[in-house]
């Protein structure tokens, strides 16, 4: 069907509308006289020096124009990147601009306008990345560039005046301790689940009668809400700690890391076992028959044929679980398990939104990075023969 006039891009129009609305109508930053009082919104037009306002508006309007009218994904990606590269340091600059000189109690945090701009540019970037169909290596490189840009902003001090970084500055040590703990808890629980889940999956694949009951039990575990599961584990582990000196000696307690770790392992088991079973089952019968006919033993068939062919499916299970546990580990803080959730719950308790974000933003970033990295690995693992 021939089109009349200019062809508008539907997603692009949405992005443009969001960006313009965010830039002109919504507050760019929130100013508060101290950490916990409620704040006053500042529009972009009042939150930056004039030259900077011109630059930001130029970037926003330019990106909106490209989003609506230009279809080439590479151009759209560049527009989105320019938008992000301008807006991200601008919010840091705005914090310094809005804060009265010498006032160390005042807090400036990004407001809805900023977040909506980031969302709009992020959508545009994600859409153009999808259309560009980057290979796994290019996606990893894009992730590295994004991580590098964020690190540069952090290290250069461009965001130094933002309230989030002020929260960080007062608890640098505990931030890194909890972050490390969070990563270890998530990765460790996934690793343990893989070590337990792979043999269970192989068992289910081989022994048909085990399969249904095993998957059903894991399914039920998966449906228990996380807080309930933490609570349920506190009882037996507490009993263990009180009655078995060895258990107490290696750090098992009713509350703390042990029940959190155990719960995360249990949550991770179902996707890993189920994907291992599915992955092994879908290896073509003719391939297995040929392997048997050439004199491969059961073990050789498993490790040289079935396992490599099931690997992409198994890795998909591991990806699901890793992303899931990076998020779930936040809840572990509720039972004293530590991790970035500590800041989230402290922040909620003190109604200090910045503290909540100090825990939440790195968690989201970690999950996102884990998803991108594992997607790339899965594609590389399956690419040769798909």
């Amino acid at each position: 069907m021939p089109r009349l006039g200019i062809a508008f891009d539907r997603l692009g129009s949405l992005v443009a509308a969001l960006a313009l609305f965010a830039a002109f109508v919504l507050p760019f930053v929130t100013y508060r006289a101290n950490r916990i009082v409620s704040g006053e919104p500042r529009l972009l037009l009042h939150a930056l020096p004039t030259t900077m306002i011109v630059i930001v508006l130029a970037a926003v309007i330019g990106a909106a124009w490209v989003a609506v009218l230009i279809r080439r994904p590479s151009v759209r990606l560049i527009a989105a990147a320019v938008g992000l590269v301008v807006v991200a340091p601008a919010v840091g600059l705005s914090a310094g601009f809005v804060t009265p000189a010498g006032n160390s109690f005042a807090r400036v945090s990004p407001a809805s306008g900023f977040w909506l701009l980031v969302l709009a540019f992020g959508l545009l970037a994600a859409d153009s990345l999808t259309r560009l169909r980057f290979g796994p290596w290019a996606r990893l490189a894009a992730l590295a560039v994004a991580a590098g840009a964020i690190a540069l902003l952090l290290l250069s001090g461009a965001w130094h005046d933002l309230s989030l970084l002020k929260e960080y500055a007062t608890r640098t040590d505990s931030f890194w301790r909890e972050a490390r703990h969070h990563v270890l808890l998530s990765l460790g629980s996934v690793l343990a689940a893989v070590i337990i889940g792979l043999p269970l999956g192989i068992l289910c694949h081989r022994v048909r009668v085990v399969r249904v009951p095993m998957l059903q039990v894991l399914n039920i575990l998966q449906t228990i809400p996380s807080i309930a599961l933490f609570g349920m584990l506190m009882v037996p582990l507490g009993y263990l700690a009180a009655n078995v000196p060895l258990a107490a000696a290696i750090g098992i307690r009713g509350i703390g890391t042990a029940p959190a770790f155990l719960a995360l392992v249990l949550y991770a088991l179902l996707p890993i076992v189920a994907n291992t079973v599915v992955g092994l089952d879908q290896v073509p019968a003719s391939v297995v028959d040929a392997a048997r006919g050439m004199g491969m033993s059961r073990r050789q068939r498993l490790f040289q044929v079935k396992f490599p062919l099931a690997l992409p499916v198994i890795l998909t299970g591991i990806r699901i679980v890793l992303v899931q546990n990076l998020g779930l580990a936040t809840v572990a803080a509720l039972i004293g398990g530590g991790g970035l959730g500590t800041f989230v719950f402290q922040g909620i308790g003190q109604t200090a939104m910045d503290l909540v974000l100090l825990g939440a933003i790195p968690t989201v970033g970690l999950s996102f990075a884990a998803a991108v990295i594992l997607d790339a690995i899965i594609e590389l693992a399956g690419r040769a023969h798909s």
Binding site: S286, V287, D289, A290, A291, G293, G295, M296, H385
Partner: protein, 312 residues
């Protein structure tokens, strides 16, 4: 030599292979043919013990296959299946190297063997060694499947409908290649098919199976001239029989002295083709040349027809 003695296979109450005895000569091609579900694959798979016989024995060169550990037995027997069963995660070279690797050959020897086989199957090693199966055509995949089965120089090759997935043209080429390679290497081949043409074309001997039983076992000529009553007669096809019989004989074997006019025939073509040629050009006789171009004599329609007549 393979000797099958009173071999049977039963699943619960159904008998799938019923008391089959036969002997396959060293260096020959035996084709097992029959309708779907007749028990052909089961019979074949009992030779390398992919299926454990319910009763009876298989002797290879006088040795009972039960006396050898099953994996070791299979290392010595090539095995090719329909749709080739290539490993999708391994390259062509990796696929062909499977059994040599299981046997612990040195890397250098494996590499040489892979190149040698690729050349034998007319696949340029530089181009094909590093490719994955999904990058090959059906015919190329099939050749790699046979090359893989031959990698460790087995004296015996089992093939279960190896050409079943190929289109007619490629299929015919693959059959010719198999014949040439088999003659060259002297491998004993047992091949399963449900295609009668294929059986006649490839089989030094043909075993016909029907409903779990071996109903006839003999050369192509024996099957055509003296088909067992009932199933084999129908399978061989009454109308087609004289033509099939003709295609078993070469012009070379019916050359008469004398000369004739017209485009000469090659001595190596079969009588069916020679007859077709004569009908087409409208001559009763044509001259015959051998491969070097020397005149051997002539062949006449009368001579050919005499050959296609039912044996007394």
């Amino acid at each position: 030599m393979i000797e099958i003695q009173n071999l049977s296979k039963r699943y619960d109450d159904t008998i799938v292979v019923d008391d089959v005895s036969m002997r396959m000569e060293e260096g020959s091609i035996t084709v097992i043919v029959g309708t779907s579900g007749a028990g052909k694959s089961t019979l074949l798979r009992m030779i390398n013990r992919l299926v454990e016989p319910s009763s009876g024995r298989v002797l290879i060169d006088g040795q009972d296959t039960m006396a050898v550990p099953e994996d070791e037995l299979r290392h010595r027997i090539g095995y090719v299946i329909q749709g080739n069963g290539l490993f999708p995660h391994r390259t062509v070279a990796g696929n062909i190297a499977t059994v040599p690797r299981l046997l612990g050959w040195e890397a250098k020897r494996i590499g040489q063997r892979v190149d040698e086989l690729l050349q034998l199957f007319q696949l340029d090693p530089a181009e094909f060694a590093g490719k994955y199966p999904h990058e090959l055509s059906g015919g190329q995949q099939q050749r790699v499947g046979v090359a893989r089965a031959l990698a460790a120089r087995p004296a015996l090759l089992l093939m279960d409908e190896p050409f079943g997935a190929l289109d007619p043209v490629i299929r015919s080429k693959a059959q010719d290649d198999l014949l040439a390679i088999q003659r060259r290497l002297g491998t004993t081949v047992v091949l399963v098919t449900h295609d009668m043409e294929e059986a006649f074309r490839l089989g030094d001997k043909i075993a016909v199976m029907d409903e779990a039983r071996l109903v006839q076992y003999g050369t192509a000529a024996e099957l055509l001239t003296h088909p067992a009553e009932g199933f084999v007669e129908r399978l061989v096809g009454t109308a087609e029989r004289p033509f099939r019989l003709l295609s078993l004989t070469r012009v070379r074997d019916v050359v008469e002295p004398g000369t004739a006019d017209g485009e000469p025939l090659d001595a190596s073509i079969d009588l069916r083709e020679a007859l077709a040629r004569m009908v087409w050009v409208g001559r009763d006789a044509l001259p015959v040349l051998d491969s070097s171009g020397a005149m051997l004599g002539r062949v006449s329609i009368g001579g050919i027809l005499a050959h296609g007549r039912q044996a007394p």
